[in-house]
Every structure is written in structure tokens, then in C-alpha cells.
Symmetry: C3
Subunit: 132 residues, 3 copies
């Protein structure tokens, strides 16, 4: 298992980590899938299009609209009332699993892997491992 | 890794691919789980009830309501302004992982595996592989 | 593959099953990830913060708000018109996959694994297996 460290810059931010994941699995050519796991509770990971930066903004706004800050929330933690960030993280998902083909990620032509920050800016990490 | 080709018929459509996945893993009785992966950015995959066709319509309407076409969106690609389709695909998820028991999918009694089209009609494919 | 039985108590309820999963993988120290799979169609599983009980209520309310009971639904099954429960289950996800480190779940400091009931109270089960 390898760790990818990253630093986010905004409250809600999708960060393309495709190359980091690719580097982390380098040389693991005998695995059949790569597991990308986020050990945080206000961040997740998803796979989507890596071409258009405008789409990342659309995703950021969409997560904020699907789970509204203005709803009635009870949870307050050391960082303040951030329950919407927790729910958005679960909607995004704590992990993705990508099949490997000849040792490389079998992503679709337009796909990238995106870390999803919902309570930034923060120092974060992602775990990458390969499965047999 | 095997590929299942499929052709969708509507913009938003859930397609039952359970038997296709079962056929794709036929003979892989030593695996412990089947990975069903969608290499597209406006389609995903989910697991839910395979009995009532009305429920599929409910899912299709629900995804369209959870992520509204009328929200403010920026992304335009070769297919037009389809950002909602991208977000719905991520909410559905790019993959499911089903445990295997005696070489068969350990699905619940009522469960099926559904390809989720959000920007059809299109020619699509799904990758199926087994993990040790 | 091991089965964890559980009994839920409310229509919508997140249940912390982290210790049950940990017990189910006990002694599987050679695996690289634990698959937690829900074989039901109105329940799912997610990973989030395990510290504050208020957050679980927030999650329960959020799932009910993201997918509204009052939307137009068609599906009726033996348990009545419960389509929203099906959609919430798919949004939560039918499975999570957690990397193993030295035979234990490599969860983040604040993470727990939560069974997500959306059509309780019911007798439920969860499948836990390890991947090589």
C-alpha cells in the first residue's frame, strides 16, 4: 500500500490524481485491479472526465446543491458545523477500484481519477494498493 | 478482462446486465469477487431490484431530479451541454464489486446489476474481471 | 465469505458495523482488502465518521431529503410504495472495499463502516470477504 499526499486549496475541490495513482502502481504489473482509498470523512474519490476544467466546477457546484448547507444539521466538530461535507464525501464514495490491463489502469479514453475535497483547504492522503 | 458491448436506447436508461456479467465470469470459479467497471464518463453501474420494471423508471426519474438539468452548468462537450449526465454517472458509481460464492455472483435474492445510461442513446461497453 | 446478521430498528438508520467487520476478517492477515457487501435492495453501506451520533441523524435526514418521499413514484412492492428506499440504497452503495494493513482494516482515524437501512425495521445481513 502506498500513500499519496496532497494539499487542497478550497473548501470544495476536485483534484486530478490520475498520474499519482499511475505512479503508485508502477511495477505492479501482476495485479488485476488498483484500489484507490480515501481515509478521510469529509473527502472522497470519483472517476469522471479529465479534459474540461469547467466540468470540475460543475461537479463542485453540483455536490453543494445536492446536499444543501442551509438544511437543518446537528453535527458540529472541531472544524465547525460541517455535516454537509461528510454527506458529500459519502455520496462521492470512499474508494474506486480500477481494473488493470498489462499493468496499467484500464481507464476509459476520457476518464481520470479525482480526489474530492469537501472541507478544505487541508493536508490529505490517498492509499493506493493493487489486488491480485 | 472481458468486454460486454451494449447499445442504449434512451437518454437516461437502466439496463439489466446481470446475465451478461454472469456469462463473462463463467468458468472463473476460483475468483473471490467480480469487478464490473464502466469506462465511460456519462454512464455508471449500480445494483438494485431486478423484478419490477416500474422501479427502473423510478430510478431514471430520480437521477434526473437529484441532479437538475435546469441548474447552472458550464461544461459543453462534443455532445452539447451534458454536465448533469457526468454528475449522475459519478453518483451511480463507475464500478460495482460482487463477491463470488462457488463461482457464481453472490447477489441477494432480488438483486440485479444495472448499467446506468445518462447520455444515450449510445454504443457502450462494460469491463468484467475477477479478483483472486 | 462470512455473514454478519443484524436487526434494524427504524425506517432509516445508520448502524456502525466496524467491529463486526473487523471480527469477520480476523485471521485473514494475508488478504489485501476487505469487501463488505450488502445483498439487499433497500439498504446499502458507507464509510464515514464514527464519533458523533448526531452525524448519523444528519445522514439519515440527508438521504431522506436528497431523495424525496413526495416525488412521483410508480414502484410498489410487497412492502408498499418504497421506491425512495431503493434509490437511497443505490446512492449509499451496495459495497465498500477497505485496504488491509498488517491484517487490519486500514481505516482513517475517524472512519467507521456503516450499514445504511432505508426500509426498516428488518432482519438484514452483510457479507464480508477478503481479497488476495
Amino acid at each position: 500500500m502506498r500513500e499519496i499526499p496532497l494539499q487542497t486549496e478550497r473548501k470544495t475541490q476536485l483534484v486530478n490524481i490520475t498520474e499519482d495513482v499511475r505512479n503508485a502502481i508502477d511495477g505492479r504489473e501482476r495485479g488485476s485491479a488498483a484500489l484507490v482509498y480515501v481515509p478521510h470523512t469529509t473527502a472522497g474519490v470519483t472517476i469522471n472526465e479529465r479534459i474540461d476544467p469547467d466540468l470540475l466546477e460543475d461537479f463542485e457546484h453540483a455536490f453543494q446543491t445536492i446536499v444543501g448547507e442551509e438544511w437543518t444539521w446537528r453535527h458540529v466538530d472541531a472544524d465547525g458545523p460541517n455535516a454537509p461535507a461528510h454527506v458529500r464525501a459519502s455520496l462521492a464514495s470512499p474508494q474506486v477500484l480500477v481494473p488493470l490491463r498489462d499493468g496499467d489502469l484500464a481507464l476509459g479514453t476520457y476518464q481520470g481519477i479525482f480526489f474530492c475535497e469537501f472541507d478544505g483547504p487541508r493536508s490529505r492522503k490517498v492509499y493506493v494498493s493493487t489486488l491480485a
